[in-house]
């Protein structure tokens, strides 16, 4: 969207570059200063500052009442966040790894996501569920998933997946101010951790002041005429890298970062597909019944006559394996993306 490209340009013009984790924390701290009803709870979010640096420094500024370590008891504290949100507070509750959703999915799905609807709108649940997602560091099947499709599939939750520091901050401001439950899925590899080096893309200029990025506005990261590449999270950066390679060969790929899955910016995808006629969807979640299928379905519903070829790259319906050679095999890489675009272009 045009407005978002402008925002991004402005951001890159600011001198101050931040990692994604710093940008995310900056938004949280700003909201906590402005609104006493905002508090953060999770495992190891106080003294540790979040295993993936999602809360670094917050304890010092806000104290234990507002930055709460909680028992390893996701059902209790995610459900408590629902109760506090229904009482009008604005809790942020962290699920350390999204893979741990199973132990608390009832609170997430039957209470957090549904209580607004099932109460006929008489209750709101203004909470943010932050959670770390993604692989590429060989942590195997219970610590490496993204589960984008799982959360986006179930109605009642807004689902946010930032890929840069600029977006991470703006989307966090929007998430905390939103009156609905927002699942904020941050990719571990993008956070800028000393012990898990990020690619160069996610560290961006970030304005010091607060700003919001509206949900449902995808970002065209790179305009192009030949092939549309729709993706999110870590794979935005892999797709951008692939697009640079392809550019050398005279193939002009357009890269779209969805940024939010719910709501989904279908129009930006359709506009692009109407232009290029060729669609590649890249996702770090499982292939079947997920994001790739959904994007392709929407493209088919909205622009079937314009489409000449579609392809998708995703985790090929196996749990995430441990060994490096195995994980690399199943997680779409830059070369895989470049190869798929070439095939589409032929």
């Amino acid at each position: 969207m045009a407005t978002e490209s402008r925002d991004y340009t402005e951001a890159t013009e600011t001198d101050r570059e931040l990692t994604m984790s710093r940008a995310m924390v900056e938004a949280i701290a700003w909201e906590m200063r402005e609104n006493e009803e905002v508090f953060y709870m999770g495992e190891d979010v106080a003294d540790y500052g979040g295993i993936f640096s999602s809360t670094t420094g917050l304890l010092d500024e806000f104290g234990r009442d507002r930055v709460m370590d909680v028992p390893i008891s996701e059902t209790a504290y995610l459900g408590a966040a629902v109760g506090a949100a229904q009482a009008g507070m604005r809790p942020i509750a962290e699920l350390m790894f999204v893979d741990f959703f199973g132990v608390a999915m009832d609170q997430i799905y039957n209470n957090m996501a549904k209580n607004t609807y099932m109460s006929g709108g008489s209750f709101s649940v203004p909470m943010v569920l932050t959670t770390a997602v993604g692989g590429t560091y060989n942590d195997a099947g219970q610590h490496s998933q993204t589960l984008y499709g799982t959360f986006a599939h179930l109605p009642g939750m807004k689902v946010v997946v930032p890929s840069t520091a600029y977006d991470a901050k703006g989307l966090m401001h929007s998430a905390i101010r939103d009156d609905d439950p927002v699942v904020y899925m941050f990719h571990k590899r993008l956070m800028g951790l000393g012990w898990m080096p990020s690619p160069s893309g996610p560290k961006t200029g970030v304005p010091k002041d607060d700003y919001t990025i509206p949900f449902g506005e995808a970002d065209v990261k790179r305009p192009g005429d030949d092939v549309t590449v729709v993706t999110l999270g870590l794979h935005v950066h892999r797709a951008m890298e692939a697009a640079e390679q392809l550019d050398d060969d005279g193939i002009d790929a357009e890269v779209i970062d969805l940024r939010t899955l719910v709501p989904l910016d279908t129009e930006t995808v359709l506009d692009s597909v109407r232009k290029t006629g060729k669609l590649l969807v890249v996702d770090e979640d499982y292939q079947s019944f997920g994001v790739t299928g959904e994007i392709i379905a929407r493209a088919a519903e909205g622009a079937l006559d314009d489409l000449s070829a579609v392809k998708r790259l995703a985790i090929p319906d196996v749990p995430i394996p441990y060994a490096r050679s195995l994980e690399d095999e199943v997680n779409p890489g830059t070369d895989d993306i470049a190869a798929a675009v070439r095939e589409l272009h032929e």
Binding site: A76, N111, Y117, S119, G120, G121, G302, D306
Partner: protein, 353 residues
């Protein structure tokens, strides 16, 4: 000591709740007989009636204010009535009507009334964590509001309950957990599935007070709950109470109770907390005429609510799309871009290149 006025109030709530359930039996069966068809008739869905549970709701909620939060399980009517939930709109919700508490989107297991901070959930024990959260909010805001989570004895083996005890205890939160022990988890008697016969013993493992009220008696519930609610209000942390109640009807309407000995059903009916409370009131000098008057008033209120509910319109089909979000995203972003909306200009902009 409980005052005679409070006893009368509890009596009125209890007879309201009992008559409500008895009248819902009649209304529910309309159109569903002779061969029971759950999908027919004016009341949709399942119906879990709480006849025999009245002492628990009345005895506890007597101590609560509108700003105190209550979460209830799938058998919620007596608790909702005692908490002051709008009876007409609750009944309209049970009939699936547009003016129901939840605009016809919740039904009888999922009643929400923000005016009195009442919510219930159809998932066993899963109202406990949100009650803990409401208590957490009260504590953070430095108010003296409390939260009460009601659950059945079948729920005390559930993780959500045990985790909630721990979180409430570790943060000294103003929560009271009220276990209604009606002896039966659908068809499973307590001793077949639960290690303790006294559910209040669960409290010991979390270092919080646990009390069992072994008689189905509103006054006893009132006294124990009064202590627990005061303890919570004063900032002294959570309490677990288990109350013996009785299930006078099946688990849900249509349950033939083939698993349940006749003697147990008879016993449940004999041990009637409403009769017991009426006796107490008589011993305090309340006359039979006065009791009749209370009952008549309660019955009229129930009839009025049911008549009102039945006159209410059904929701318009398109309302199914409302209330997913409080701030719904712009339509264009969520409508899936259906093919019929797509401009028919493919030839000009599309590419077979």
């Amino acid at each position: 000591m409980v005052s005679v006025t409070d006893l009368q109030t509890m009596y009125e709530q209890m007879v309201t709740a009992r008559h409500y359930e008895e009248r819902l039996v009649d209304e529910y069966l309309v159109g569903k007989q002779p061969a029971f068809d759950i999908s027919a008739g004016p009341i949709p869905g399942e119906l879990h009636l709480a006849a025999g549970h009245e002492a628990s709701g009345a005895g506890v909620c007597m101590h609560l204010r509108d700003d105190d939060t209550v979460t209830a399980p799938h058998r919620p009517h007596h608790i909702a009535i005692a908490k002051g939930v709008d009876l007409k709109r609750m009944t309209a919700e049970i009939f699936g009507r547009k003016t129901g508490l939840c605009r016809g989107k919740g039904g009888h297991m999922h009643l929400f009334d923000p005016d009195v901070n009442f919510a219930c959930s159809g998932i066993i024990a899963q109202g406990c964590p949100p009650a803990v959260g409401a208590a957490m909010a009260a504590k953070k805001r430095n108010t003296d509001a409390v939260a009460v989570a009601f659950l059945g004895e079948g729920a005390i083996d559930q993780g959500g309950f045990l985790e909630s005890l721990n979180l409430a205890a570790v943060h000294d939160l103003p929560v009271v957990f009220v276990v209604e022990d009606n002896d039966w988890a659908i068809s499973m008697p307590k001793d077949r599935v639960t290690d303790v016969q006294n559910g209040a013993q669960r409290a010991a493992g979390f270092d919080l007070p646990g009390v069992r009220i072994d008689s189905d008696d509103a006054t006893a519930v009132y006294e124990a709950a009064g202590e627990a609610v005061m303890r919570a209000r004063d900032g002294n942390g959570p309490t677990l109470i288990e109350v013996q109640v009785h299930r006078r009807m099946g688990h849900f309407m249509g349950d033939a109770e083939a698993y349940r000995p006749e003697a147990d059903i008879d016993r449940a009916k004999q041990r009637d907390s409403i009769e017991r409370l009426a006796e107490d009131l008589r011993s305090h000098g309340v006359t039979d005429d006065e009791l009749d008057e209370i009952r008549e008033r309660a019955h009229e209120r129930v009839e009025e609510a049911i008549s009102w509910a039945k006159e209410q319109p059904e929701p318009a089909p398109e309302e199914a799309y409302e209330n997913v979000f409080t701030n719904p995203p712009a339509q264009a972003a969520t409508d899936g871009g259906s093919a019929t909306d797509a401009p028919d200009d493919a030839g000009e902009t599309g590419g077979d290149n």
